[in-house]
Symmetry: C2
Subunit: 770 residues, 2 copies
């Protein structure tokens, strides 16, 4: 719903409560700190439509796969993101009446996500059935400083009565996973305990055996004064709570401060989990809510200092980009190489798994430019550590000799997707993983990664391609049969240009890296050759042969690359000719009709031209863009950003701006009517790309950053920071000039609109008229 949330440069604001839109709001207002997070569910009971979700990073469950018709090669299990114990809950009773916004009259309601300081605040006035009015204010955050903890300040005040209010802070581990295939519950209890003002629930996941202890401690204030209370503890399986009864007078504010911690056996011994969790809530409660909130604001200020994109003259665009950057930072911090960026982050459980090719194709560039190199490096290492499983996965499909196929979706390296046309055929994902290695090296200049880890992955991927192609005796060329490209609205096609192109690119890059590594560290290379039984002579010759004899479909008359064999047999109609009622196609057309049509879900040939733009002249890119974009329905959240970047490259600033708005406000405006399930986290990195690589025109080539900026008509100016090889630059693009400030101590040479400038530390070292 467009315009549901108020436009504000630093906040997302909901004024008035729309129950039908609550799940969208819960997604948009989600909180996270990279280690834990959850949806913006209410603290108090809510019997209306809600999707409850609290998540602990890296904790998953291999749910038994559900398919209609089993195909050989399907994984037996599908790793699910797990809804974990609810730590935010505070039941409220006013006299005998439960406070439940689905059952009260809501007089006033406001929810606000403060992106600047990193907290969620909700205040409302409500009238119970018996006519009692209360005012509530709830502030909550997942702490960055204490990243296993969260805190809530919940205040309630009787507006028209004196009387008893019961506050019941609780931890509830008896939760459901909406996405469970067989309605199973995934957690067993290990233990629980509660004593007066503190307690914990420790749970263990079935099968995977992850343990998480969720502890809470709480204090109560009446007015400003702490209340001495003796609470009634409640203990059930997977559940603890305490009833605190307060006699409140009209106008008086009763405050519950709830401190919570989620500690996982990934980081502690299981047998000390609950003690450590209790220690942590003790420690943060000593620190106190206000101190924690101040630390939170400071931590976010530090993030924004490096991450922020400022847009002048377009508050909606400003809000959009900040929301994307905020969510990305909430989802992944890069501190733990076991974690990755799930498509829904901590905002929902849909899709399962945490890792898609989105990470390599969309998120790596964001973290490369906005965080320390180790963050992107950790994302690469994540895949390196899963290489063995990628080799196993390829084996399951009949490949051999160390060929690796990375999974389409995974949590721990095991494939958990099960749709043959995707799982077995959307193999271009292997290319994106190789591309991320290239991208990391290109950006950081750190070639040690290639020697230590990268080459091993590259060879395994190249081995896959070398077995996956087919020699066509008829064409006397290699062909790539039976694939699904990034455009998933085509299945089981032959010679998808993008897949074939990225496949041979992988082979070329692998050959190049072999050369580099041999030169840089012959001993390590020799170790690797022996470790993976690499027959350099034979295998490299095969790689070269494929590079030289690969078939790529194209249309000479139109001067374009063909998305796949037979694409021109389709009826050549354009998106603009589609009736509005038919959109989105995926909800209105049968699958076969979509497949037969020319319509493209997301950049496919254009994804290749984006990745490998230097290999093609501008007119080739333009012809392909002009041909394919009008056939693209952008029904993937990953689509508009690539088009925005290409539109910028081609000088089409209006289309670029249109694509930008669509990608940056996708969730705020619930553009695809699916934000209720969670936000589209990975495409948010694409939004960042569309500003920095699109409007900013930033590229890295030959170890140098370059910028070719364009300014959308509506904007006065925009600016962003990027880190590059030790330097930190602020790029400001206004009507008048492109200014590059070096806000670090390290000088750097950049190109602006084709000319090289040395940018030294200090104010406005480089300003180029625009």
């Amino acid at each position: 719903m467009k315009d549901y949330f108020k436009v504000d440069e630093w906040k997302i604001i909901e004024e008035g409560f729309a129950p039908g839109y609550n799940k969208v709001a819960e997604s948009v207002f989600s909180l996270g700190n990279g280690r834990m997070g959850g949806r913006a569910n209410f603290e108090e009971a809510y019997s209306g439509d809600t999707l409850q979700g609290n998540y602990v990073a890296g904790v998953y469950y291999p749910d038994k796969t559900r398919v209609g018709w089993w195909k050989n090669g399907y994984p037996e299990y599908f790793a699910k993101v797990l809804n974990a114990a609810n730590w935010i809950g505070i039941d409220v009773k006013i006299g005998d009446e439960q406070l439940d916004l689905a059952k009260c009259e809501i007089i006033d309601f406001r929810r606000e996500l403060n992106m600047k300081d990193g907290y969620l605040k909700r205040d409302f006035k409500a009238k119970t059935e018996s006519g009692k009015e209360v005012e509530v204010e709830a502030t909550r955050f997942c702490s960055i400083a204490d990243d296993e903890a969260g805190a809530i300040k919940y205040t309630i005040s009787p507006m028209n009565f004196d009387g008893e209010i019961t506050l019941t802070p609780f931890i509830d581990g008896d939760i459901v996973n909406k996405d469970s295939n067989y309605d199973e519950k995934f957690w067993d209890e290990v233990s629980n305990d509660i004593r007066n003002d503190r307690g914990y629930v420790q749970l263990r996941t079935k099968k995977t055996g992850f343990e998480v202890a969720t502890a809470m401690k709480f204090t109560v204030l009446q007015g400003d004064k702490p209340v001495e209370f003796k609470s009634d503890s409640i203990q059930k399986e997977k559940y603890i709570a305490a009833d605190i009864k307060v006699q409140a007078r009209q106008g008086e504010v009763v405050t519950l401060l709830k401190y919570a911690a989620n500690l996982s056996s990934q980081n502690y011994q299981s047998d000390e989990l609950s003690a450590k969790a209790l220690e942590m809530v003790e420690r943060i409660s000593q620190k106190g809510f206000d101190t924690m909130l101040a630390e939170q604001a400071a931590a976010w200020a530090e993030k924004w200092k490096h991450n922020d994109i400022v847009i002048e003259g377009d508050a909606a665009a400003q809000q959009g980009i900040r929301f994307n950057i905020f969510q990305l930072n909430q989802t992944y911090t890069g501190e733990d190489d076991r974690l990755n960026i799930g498509p829904k982050g901590f905002t929902g459980e849909k899709y399962g798994g945490s890792t898609y090719w989105d990470t390599e194709a969309y998120c790596v560039p964001f973290y490369l430019a906005t965080a320390e190199p180790k963050v992107a490096r950790n994302l690469l290492l994540y895949r390196y550590k899963q290489l063995g499983k990628a080799i196993d996965n390829a084996k399951l499909l009949g490949f051999k000799d160390g060929a690796a196929l990375y999974p389409m979706v995974t949590m721990d390296g095991t494939e958990c997707h099960n749709e043959w046309e995707i799982t077995f055929e959307e193999i271009h994902r292997n290319g994106a993983i190789a591309y991320a290695i290239f991208n990391y090296t290109r950006y950081t200049g750190d070639e040690t990664y290639l020697t230590d880890y990268g080459l091993e992955v590259l060879i395994a991927i190249s081995r896959f391609w070398a077995q996956r192609i087919t020699w066509s005796a008829e064409r006397q060329l290699y062909v790539m049969l039976g694939v699904t490209g990034p455009n998933e609205y085509e299945n089981n096609i032959n010679n998808n240009w993008y897949t074939s192109t990225i496949a041979t690119w992988c082979l070329k890059y692998t050959l190049q890296v072999i050369g580099k590594v041999k030169e840089a560290n012959a001993a390590k290379y020799k170790d690797l050759v022996s470790k993976i039984s690499f027959n350099e002579e034979v295998e490299c010759e095969k790689f070269s042969d494929i590079i030289n004899k690969m078939y790529y479909p194209n249309d000479d008359k139109l001067g374009i690359f063909l998305q796949q064999d037979g694409y021109m047999d389709k009826e050549q109609i354009l998106v603009k000719d589609l009736p509005a009622a038919d959109r989105p196609l995926v909800k209105n057309w049968s699958w076969d009709r979509i497949l037969r049509s020319v319509f493209i879900k997301q950049a496919d040939v254009l994804q290749g031209l984006y990745f490998f733009e230097d290999d093609y002249d501008l007119e080739t890119i333009r012809r392909n863009y002009d041909f394919y974009e009008p056939r693209t329905v952008h029904e993937s959240s990953l689509s508009p950003c690539v088009h925005s970047i290409l539109a910028c490259k081609l000088g089409d600033i209006d289309r670029a701006y249109e694509f930008y708005l669509r990608t940056s406000r996708l969730d705020i405006d619930d553009y695809n009517n699916d934000t209720d399930d969670g936000c589209h986290i990975t495409s948010m990195a694409g939004t960042w790309m569309s500003v920095v690589e699109g409007f900013g025109g930033m590229r890295v080539k030959d170890g140098m950053l370059s910028f070719n900026p364009l300014l959308p008509h509506k904007w006065e100016a925009f600016s962003f920071q990027v880190g590059f090889r030790g330097a930190l630059l602020q790029v400001i693009v206004s009507r008048k000039a492109v200014s590059i400030k070096n806000i670090s101590g390290m000088g750097v040479t950049v190109k602006v609109n084709g000319t090289e400038y040395v940018v030294v530390s200090g104010a406005e070292a480089c300003s180029v008229p625009h």
Copy 2:
């Protein structure tokens, strides 16, 4: 397992009990009479591995579809064949010990399916844990004369003791459906009752509301003498039983005769079902077991008189063909146009639905030649009655204006298959339905069917094709994108030669039938035109245009039709080069690998050449056969028969014989290791075809039967009967001669090896040297 069952020309015999093979035996020994039937489960309790199945024709349940990833256009429900009340059960206790062959020592065991007389007999000797030995003989059949009834004679005799034996005949409606998607039970109880020697259970299916009353009556004999007994009735939900205690002496035979009936609300008012069922068991028990069994033998003799195929000199081949004919007759009698031929008949529940294109492509020819024309006509009418739903089904996929797509799998006309590459794309099934109309008319000469029903179906199917093709501006021809041909080892391919060929054949045939019907009955034609809003001028012109401008892939160098675009890009290896361990591919290769390979599941181009052989010269057929057969893995039960017929046509008698054996003994030898789920009923009609159309070389052309027989080397002779337009012929092919006896009163002209002969009634009217 080859050679598990003993070879016998009229029987299937199992000697000794192999628990691991029990489910295969249960399938092979299945009984049915077209209205009810079931697997050869034991009467007494069996705690070993078994698949219980009793089925009532036409009763089904729309189980909620289970898919991994929902695609727009999928049906919400999948009609399942329902396991119905167990009417065969007789629990047996010897003293306090339950008779259970999984827990006894089996001294002797023999099961025998008597195909000549149509019953199942099992006898065994077993020793209980305490050492008591008993001899049991159980004979059971589903009556043809009383086709809602079955009878069991169960005798038990103590071999080494005197003592109490408790016989507990029961009816149990609390059964499970192994194929249920969500482990649901599909039957609710309406009522049950039991009084001394008779009782019933009446059940109602959830959702569909079919009611079935299953009644039993029983009598007991000690030696030859009826026993007066007072049984203890047991009544539970969905269950009735009676305990009958008999004091038996060593060597004495105790006999329980159990008469049962299954009456369905398809044929009676629900409120009279149980009364009628009780009446029926009363009536048949009056008749008595021996009389019923004699009637059964007589009914089967009548069937065999017209259906039998006699093979001399090859008992295994003889047993094979009789088993196929026996099962076909058990499955479908053609008396009820609401019924059809499920792929498993009454032998299992797998696959669900009752109707596949198998019926039209494989079964119609069998029933045309071996039964009254009304049988095949009823199969045609079944589809005619479902035309409305076929139009709805097409609408769901985006087709309009009366275009019909018949379902891939159905029970009542609604699609219940849910695999996009099949459900939405294996559209050649529409062609088979049109072909059956052509086949029926060609065989019977009855053109009134076209006027009354056939043309309406043909136009709806042609309308579908006219919308399903795509005009390729590039080729300036019509193409057929995104289909799956009969070879399901290719999905979502373009321009499958078979599909495109049968599509234009449908259009041509429709145009031809329009001409015929206009001439034969202008008034009815006019009514039809108005009923279906047929714009003859515009639509026929479109049909003609497609016929004239259709693209068919072929390979000029090889002189073959190409299975689909791009087929020659595949690695051209042959089945003979596949390692044995890789077979069957479907169990050993991942799906993408199968799809990329040249390997063919079942006749595809060759299916077209079989259907439309007159349109191609013999050398074209040979080139295609020589190219495709070596690439065919025959992993569908429908594959060998078509190849056998083509091999005969091409004079390759050895290959033809090999294919014949494979198809005819598929279930007896459990060739594909999947007979435990049930027999492959529809392919049994293909077996018949491979004898009559293959070795017999029978064809119908210009209203005349012709024969071009070949005799496999191993056979001395073979003979079969066919009915043709009122005449009944027996064809005997021996080393010396082809003899055609007219065993009806009506003369007929036939061609043998190209020469016409008039065959009049009487002995050996025509004998042609061979």
